[in-house]
């Protein structure tokens, strides 16, 4: 008797055995249903969280370098980097002039101040100092008016561009462009209003006031934290661009040959990597905890399979007497356990699917074919693993004793 016949016959026998004990089989499979349900929901939620994070991080742009004093990925203590010299806004010009790979160089520094227009005010608004290239690099678009020019940056003009939310807050029913508002203690003229941008890294980007970086340096910050965003022409040339920028910066900052960089060139990839590291830990813990319910379900299967083998000792004896080999008996009971579990897997997924539709309202998550296939595979494996001990016991039964059983 070959393996295929064994499987086919085993399947027939299992189905009739499951059918003969419908109540018991469905109660047993409930454990697997719950296990597969929780595991597949957890996997879907984790995938959704990751997707949502990656989407939000995509705003950084995969073709943008962030040049700062502090690196994003470091195990070293921050004080090692604190003593580095501050970056100067004048680097922006040098970088833009000398880099062949850079498409645009944005300089940025920011803080929080109150903003006021006549009787309307907002207490803590994100005030950002930028240069004329920042709109391009930060993917900001203007709805009304215009962004400021190179000359306005160079001259430190008191002009500003408003985010969509703060603009509608200050100017409910009137056009904002041309009006004068107070930012902190200074007066600025509104020259542009931005399109709605949405959230970025969980910060509302529409609640910002953008002013020329030169103005920001003179009016707002004594020792500001400056960073540069360099947009590269070709995303395929990130490595070359990084080396070039590094060379230019070392020269500007007079870093001695052989000495360590005293600045950091960051990119989106670093955050993704760090997230993935944390994500893996969260995923393993989450799946382990939900997997426990599957484990409990598996124990239920094992238990009921021992009962099933016990009940059918005589049947095992008959089968062995007329020529069933150990393998045939083993497969018969393994398949019974596997069928119960697979059934539970299908049911669990059938329940998980509507639940993921609800989840979709909160996370960009859907029950992926991979998760579904893995769910079925895991349920099958649970059946085979938890069914093995009972099936092995059945297969090894002595036919004489088995036939004598009541």
């Amino acid at each position: 008797m070959n393996l295929l016949t064994d499987l086919r016959e085993g399947l027939k026998i299992s189905w009739s055995a499951i059918g003969a004990n419908k109540m018991r089989s469905s109660l047993t499979t409930l454990g697997i249903v719950i296990g597969i349900l929780t595991v597949s929901l957890m996997a879907t939620a984790l995938a959704g969280l990751k997707e949502s994070f990656l989407r939000s991080i995509a705003g950084l742009g995969s073709d943008v370098f962030f040049i700062e004093k502090f690196p994003w990925d470091t195990d070293n203590a921050w004080w090692k980097f604190r003593s580095r010299r501050d970056l100067d806004i004048s680097y922006a010009r040098v970088l833009a002039r000398e880099s062949r790979y850079a498409l645009a160089v944005s300089v940025e520094s920011s803080g929080s101040w109150p903003v006021q227009y006549r009787d309307k005010s907002a207490s803590s608004v994100w005030v950002v100092g930028n240069n004329e290239q920042s709109a391009l690099v930060r993917q900001l678009t203007v709805k009304a008016g215009r962004f400021f020019t190179e000359a306005e940056v160079a001259g430190g003009r008191p002009v500003c561009v408003l985010g969509a939310d703060i603009a509608s807050k200050l100017f409910a029913n009137e056009p904002g462009v041309g009006k004068k508002i107070k930012v902190g203690q200074r007066t600025f003229e509104v020259i542009g209003i931005l399109d709605k941008f949405g959230q970025f890294l969980f910060v509302n980007m529409d609640n910002q006031v953008i002013i020329p970086i030169t103005r920001f340096m003179s009016d707002f910050a004594r020792r500001p934290y400056v960073l540069f965003m360099v947009k590269v022409r070709e995303v395929t040339q990130m490595d070359e661009a990084r080396e070039e920028l590094r060379g230019i910066l070392r020269r500007i900052r007079n870093v001695a040959p052989g000495a360590e960089d005293d600045f950091a060139i960051n990119q989106q990839e670093i955050i993704v990597k760090a997230f993935n590291r944390v994500g893996r830990v969260i995923a393993s813990v989450g799946l382990f905890i939900t997997g426990l319910s599957l484990f409990v379900g598996g124990i239920g299967i094992m238990n009921i399979m021992f009962v099933s083998v016990n009940e059918r000792t005589r049947e095992i004896g008959i089968r062995k007497a007329i020529g069933a080999k150990r393998r045939s008996i083993l497969i018969q009971f393994l398949l019974e356990a596997a069928c119960i579990c697979l059934l539970g897997g299908f049911l669990g997924l059938a329940l998980a699917y509507p639940a993921t539709l609800v989840m979709k309202n909160y996370l960009p998550a859907s029950l992926s074919p991979t998760v579904a296939a893995l769910g079925l595979l895991v349920s099958l494996l649970t059946g085979v693993i938890s069914g093995f001990m009972p099936a092995y016991r059945a297969a090894r039964m002595n036919p004489v004793d088995a036939l004598r059983a009541e």
Binding site: T5, S16, R314, A321, I322, G323, A324, K325, R327, V400
Partner: protein, 231 residues
Amino acid sequence: MSLIRFQHISRLYQMGAETVHALRDITLDIDRGEYVAIMGPSGSGKSTLMNLIGCLDTPTAGRYELNGTDVSDLDDNQLAEIRNREIGFVFQTFNLLPRSNALRNVELPLIYAGMGAEERREVALGALASVGLTDRIHHKPNELSGGQRQRVAIARALVNKPSILLADEPTGNLDSRTGVEIMALFEELSRKGNTIIVVTHEEDVARHARRIVRLRDGLIAGDETRPEKSA
């Protein structure tokens, strides 16, 4: 050459600290086509002898040749194969699978022999016809009378064309009239050339056989062959 050749067979059981000698140094030959009854009171070792003949069990000592093959040292799977090919069992309690119908029960040995579905059905139908049950093939055991159940069991035992039909108290659970019918069927099978071994403690049943082997305390107490069977 003998179909069954027992040479100095012993079978011991360990019951706690006690050793039970179920069979002591049995030597026995049975030829092809013989109709043998094995008799003895309970505890005489006749069940043990039947288990050994049927390859359900292996001897503690001695050599058992079945159809020219030494089967005394085979493992579980090899014994299963021998049982499937060489032995047809008929039990006192019929031992049919309760959830399967008559046809499926009779097909079972063929399944384990690896026969294809169509051929299997044909052979099984033939076996059921030979015991007169053509009209009952889709009935489950609990829908059949005792005599019919035993006929299904006999069909199942014969379906693989085994060398030996091995019956253990085949009429023990039947009323006397049905028992007579079953014994008549055995005689018919014997006339057709089947080798039949019946284990029983009933003289009435044993009388049908041409040779009677009597066991007592694990030893052969008598072995008589009649030239003509009594009616």
